[in-house]
Amino acid sequence: MNTQRSTVNRLSAENVTLAYDQRVIAEQLSVEIPDNSFTVIVGPNACGKSTLLRALSRMLKPSQGRVLLDGQVIQSMPAKKVARTLGLLPQSSIAPDGITVGDLVGRGRYPHQGLLRQWSSEDERVVRESMASTGVGELADRYVDELSGGQRQRVWIAMALAQQTPLLLLDEPTTFLDIQHQIDVLDLCAELHEEQGRTLVAVLHDLNHAARYATHLIALRDGSVIAQGTPQDIVTAELVEEVFGLRCQVIDDPETGTPLVVPAARNARTAAAVSVAKGS
Amino acid sequence: MLVDSPPEPNAETAPAPRKRRAIRAAGLLVSVAVLVLIALASIAIGAKDLSLSQVWHGLFDDSGTYGDVVVSERLSRTVLGLLAGAALGLAGAVLQALTRNPLADPGLLGINAGASAAVVTAITYFGVTSLSGYVWFAFGGAAVVGVLVYVLGGSRGATPVRLALAGTALSAALYGYLQAVMIMDQAALGKMRFWTVGSLSSANDRTIEQVLPFLAIGTILALALARPLNAMAMGDDTARALGAHLGRTRALSMAAATLLCGAATAACGPIVFVGLMVPHVVRSFTGPDMRWILPYATVLSPVLLLGADVVGRMVARPAELQVGIVTAILGGPVFIFLVRRRRTAQL
């Protein structure tokens, strides 16, 4: 499985070892991001999902192995060229004081600009389109500081869109949002994927959100891939227990027919834990 | 706050709370032992070295021999070093907690500037020339500026940012004044340049008697503030929810810091780095709990100050280097080393 070499998919990690300082997060990890998919990476806290995303976006250099973008080692490519192919919405972003939505989204055009080509009419058109498709066109002249959390996240997504990359990586885009804004952002992602044909890779906390929106799911635990495939194929009670250590039922989502994870009642779970303890 | 978020609980590195407490208590004991050794060294070492038995004789069986006279002279210097060091460390710890700024030091709140401006005024306009004459001026200047910063910072409504801004603003203006006076009055410059570096060499019993009451009150206040400051570290709202009196805690913290720094600065001149560095370093192994930070800072700051004083006497015999200089030269590299050792995630 480690020897498989993608000639089809644009983004993949081959046998990468990922570490911060001496702390190794994942070893010999291989991942393929299917083209034109909405791939979601799930797993418990500290399983390495954000780390994997950082490696895929060349934010973190693997200590072994390589990340390939269009068949080239991503670190060896010119920074701006990568930035025109692959966009990232990180968790840690700072909105400069007193910047308008329009100007912030406009900064997403950086990889397409140069010293003498600072703001072409093409730039302006793309920025307006990005704002329109994320539903922040109305807010264009507002200051980012005054927006709500949900609006602000849309603005950042608009900025990543303005980068016009066929691949877009999102690191927990729904954290800190309330439920209707979470669904809002996910709907937006699905739209970008379906209507604009972009390849999306997102790290999500909520397994049910992942199962509903993803076309391709990667389940990670302790730095290795436990399962990957469409949610319908891989999300089972056994998998959830293996990955998250949670007893549950998997039923069909009454709205969409995708798998829906329902945690077992507290009594059932403690009873099970006791019987497991006795059995062993 | 940016720097010193409590480290994540980690099964491998974090022992159980009880064990951790035992380690910290043991560490504190070791620190006290080190302090005693350094204090003895400070009495023994100087232009003329004494043996330990001579030190013992001088301390407990004073019969007026030459050695005994030397001991009694070095004793007041050592005592002042202990007192001033502890005061600066405590004040720094209180100020860092009060302003929620891990880099706060007495200088940030304008206390050094106030003391310096008062001393230069005393020299130029009141003709004071003796070091012991500076004490009241320095203390007065520090106290006035401490109160002013508190009032400008908004009294009971003071926030960390306001206090820091008020302190920096007053310092700037006062240093401008100080420089102007030193440029126009060469005699003042002649005196000030020695006072500004900070030294223990002028210590005598009278100085100690003068500042002791202020140091005592300040120390008691500071140590009593550990719990309220702990509550305040979690943000104003949480602190209020926990039942802390924010206004009172701020007023008392400012009072404690002003008394401690003012008195220490009055007795030995502005020694800047101790109050910033020691609490900062202490926090890296005690975590954010003021109940540990304060005692550790009280013990380790005089270790640094007295240690630096001893080194200052050893490197330039028979002359000596002022303690303020040695503190920074020795402490600076240690500080940078510790800053570098931290993981980026914590920074």
Partner: protein
């Protein structure tokens, strides 16, 4: 002051107006920032003319202009072109360098207080200058070289010591504080070792002064600025991206470490050169970028406005010190120090009123 509280919907979506050519070239001009820059330049030049006319031998502004354009009488010609013009030019260049350097440091350390004095550069340069003054009783030119050397070594040391797979803003400030404390100690030591004449000279230098600056200081500063200012402005767009966090900047294709290193090197050179020429003039590097920003109300490091603001501030402060205390009585650093204090107090009151702090 009401920078961030505009009514919703009143601003334009894009601050800057694009200027495009048929050939596909395009630049953006922020009208408000552009106006601020022009006004500041006018203010700086006006203040310069007034300052040239100020002194023991006052010259009316008209005569100053006439002399500058080569039509003055011989006496005025000497005073203006040989004595006062170079001094004013040093003031303008030093102010501009400090303003630009300060804006760069504040942006790189992501800290509004990340000025060269906080980072220890000024203290390092002072250590170099004091070494020359106290240990060698060196000439003015030697003092300048000493300060330059001290500043550069300190800047390099801070960068190397703060480097650990990248330079983190906060670590930079911390290491700077450590280095600065050591430099201050060295300076205090040198001052106690000096004889009183050298000590007096040292204190004037440490305050920051333009007295007696001549063409020898103008040319190196001018040459350095001619190289560094275009370099900095050419790389400024990367700095704007860095403002949004390292990750965002990476994602947008900025070579983060390279940009930061280049700009920091430029900032160190600018500040060290300015300090070498005039001494560590307090607060210009700290306040110029902040004041500029208040005028332009633009996000980002506001490099050009900060530069012009620095130049204006220093020349106006020098003029104020000459008017208030008499010609060459007190160095300009005293005035900038006091002005800095006043600025911070004003900031305190207005921000408190606005309920922002």
């Amino acid at each position: 002051m009401k920078v961030l509280t505009k009514q919703a919907g009143s601003a334009r979506p894009f601050r800057a107006r694009p200027v495009r050519t048929r050939g596909g070239l395009s630049v953006r001009i922020d009208v408000r920032s552009f106006t601020v820059v022009v006004l500041l330049l006018v203010a700086a030049l006006t203040a310069s003319v007034v300052l040239i006319g100020t002194g023991d031998f006052p010259i009316p502004a008209g005569d100053v202009l006439k002399t500058l354009f080569g039509n003055g009488d011989a006496g005025q010609e000497f005073i203006v072109n040989e004595l006062r013009l170079p001094r004013v030019l040093v003031g303008l260049l030093v102010g501009a360098s400090l303003g630009l350097g300060g804006a760069l440091f504040q942006a790189i350390s992501r800290n509004p207080l990340g000025s060269p004095d906080v980072l220890g550069l000024a203290q390092g340069a002072t250590a170099g200058a004091l070494t020359v003054i106290v240990l060698f009783s060196g000439s003015a030119a030697e003092v300048t070289l000493g300060a330059l050397f001290g500043g550069l070594v300190t800047g390099l040391a801070i960068y190397v010591l703060a480097w650990k797979r990248g330079v983190h803003g906060y670590r930079l400030v911390l290491v700077g504080i450590g280095v600065s404390a050591m430099a201050v100690a060295v300076n205090g030591y040198l001052l106690t070792k000096a004889d009183i004449v050298d000590a007096a000279r040292a204190v004037v230098w440490m305050t920051g002064s333009l007295n007696g600056r001549d063409w020898d200081q103008v040319w190196p500063l001018l040459a350095l600025s001619a190289v560094l200012v275009p370099l900095v402005l050419g790389n400024a767009r990367g700095l704007y991206m860095l403002e949004m966090g390292d990750d965002v900047a990476y994602a947008l294709g900025v070579r983060v470490e390279r940009t930061r290193m280049l700009l920091m090197l430029a900032a160190v050179l600018l500040t060290a050169a300015a300090t070498a020429a005039a001494g560590p003039v307090a607060f210009v590097a700290l306040t110029a970028p902040q004041l500029a920003r208040r005028l332009t109300r633009a996000p980002g490091p506001n490099l050009m406005p900060a530069m012009c603001m620095g130049a204006t501030l220093l020349v106006v402060a020098d003029w104020a010190s000459q008017r208030a205390f008499g010609a060459d009585q007190l160095p300009v650093g005293v005035v900038t120090g006091v002005l800095g204090g006043v600025y911070l107090l004003w900031l305190l009151f207005t921000e408190r009123k606005a309920g922002r702090i």
